[in-house]
Amino acid sequence: MKTSEEILNILKDKFGDSIIELKSDKPIDSFVLAAPLEVDKICMFLRDNSDLQFDSLMNLSGVDDANGEKVKDNKGTETINGGTLSVWYHLESTKLKHKFTLKVSTERAKPEVTSVTEIWKCADWHEREAYDMYGIIFLNHPDLRRILMPYDWEHGYPLRKDYRNPEFYQGMKVPY
């Protein structure tokens, strides 16, 4: 059993700069912010280190932080420029019974995160879902396709906050 602080210190020793900080000011869950392109190495370490043994990835979620600048064009439709998208990893060790939350943030304009499918197989579909819903590119993912939306969906990433529905898809009217 280790607390988030202890885990953070182990990680700091090993990775230095790519671990950015521990945030525990918000209620309930504290989390560690890490660099998006290093996350696969960090996760590999988290799984294989004998003091940590995070053998299970509980959840991986993409999130739109919606912290960019909101721009309205002349038709009144709003888009978000800049800001970040982020990915949250909830890890757990079934052997040592401790949990850990990791967050990475990436540029909205060019969202790229390294994939952790090699480490936990269950990340595969989670990452595909995050790609499908937010357009986050997972580098080194073996098969990054849409998963829930149709493969030929061309109208953007539905869970982004500035997503707008198309009028028609394959001749079917989409809005009510």
Binding site: M149, P150, Y163, M172, K173, V174, P175, Y176
Partner: protein, 163 residues
């Protein structure tokens, strides 16, 4: 079958209109495509199981659309599914009927406003004969929907209408 026991002895003849006879035969054996979509499908399963017994109306689930007379659209139709549903419908032999079960299939149900991937009503892709409201409709409601469909079949005519 009261009348058949009492009123007729051997060798009797019944005179009826062909329409009535055929319609009676058709409406008593409406075979259904064994096909469930979402939560409503569970209620549809419950309808065919022990308590409500769909079989007594002659509704038997068939695994293939090519052997079926009705399709019960039981649940949310998504955009990805809509093309398949159209295809299933086209695979069924005529005469064919559609029961739209539940608010989702009727009009989008709880997903009508923000459902970016939900078709707002299956009648946008295939014609519907009976709408059964509810979320999910009780099995009794589905039975009533079926009876309404039987009524419709009963009053149909076999004679080809010109245009």
């Amino acid at each position: 079958m009261g009348i058949l026991d009492k009123e007729f002895s051997e060798g009797n003849i019944v005179i009826a209109k062909t329409d009535d006879l055929f319609n009676w035969a058709r409406l008593s054996s409406l075979w259904q495509v064994g096909f469930g979509l979402a939560c409503c499908a569970i209620e549809m399963m419950a309808t065919s199981a022990s308590h409500y017994d769909f079989d007594r109306f002659g509704v038997i689930p068939r695994p293939s659309p090519r052997q079926s007379d009705i399709i019960i659209i039981s649940g949310t139709v998504t955009l990805k599914m809509a093309t398949r549903i159209k295809r299933l419908y086209e695979q069924m032999p005529d005469p064919k009927y559609v029961i739209s079960m539940g608010s989702c299939a009727n009009c989008g149900g709880p997903y009508w406003e923000h459902g970016y991937h939900v078709l707002k009503g299956v009648d946008r892709v295939i014609p519907v004969d009976v709408y059964v409201p509810g979320c999910p409709p009780r099995p009794e409601a589905l039975l009533e929907g079926l009876m309404k469909l039987q009524e419709k079949v009963r009053n149909e005519s076999m004679i080809k209408k010109s245009a």
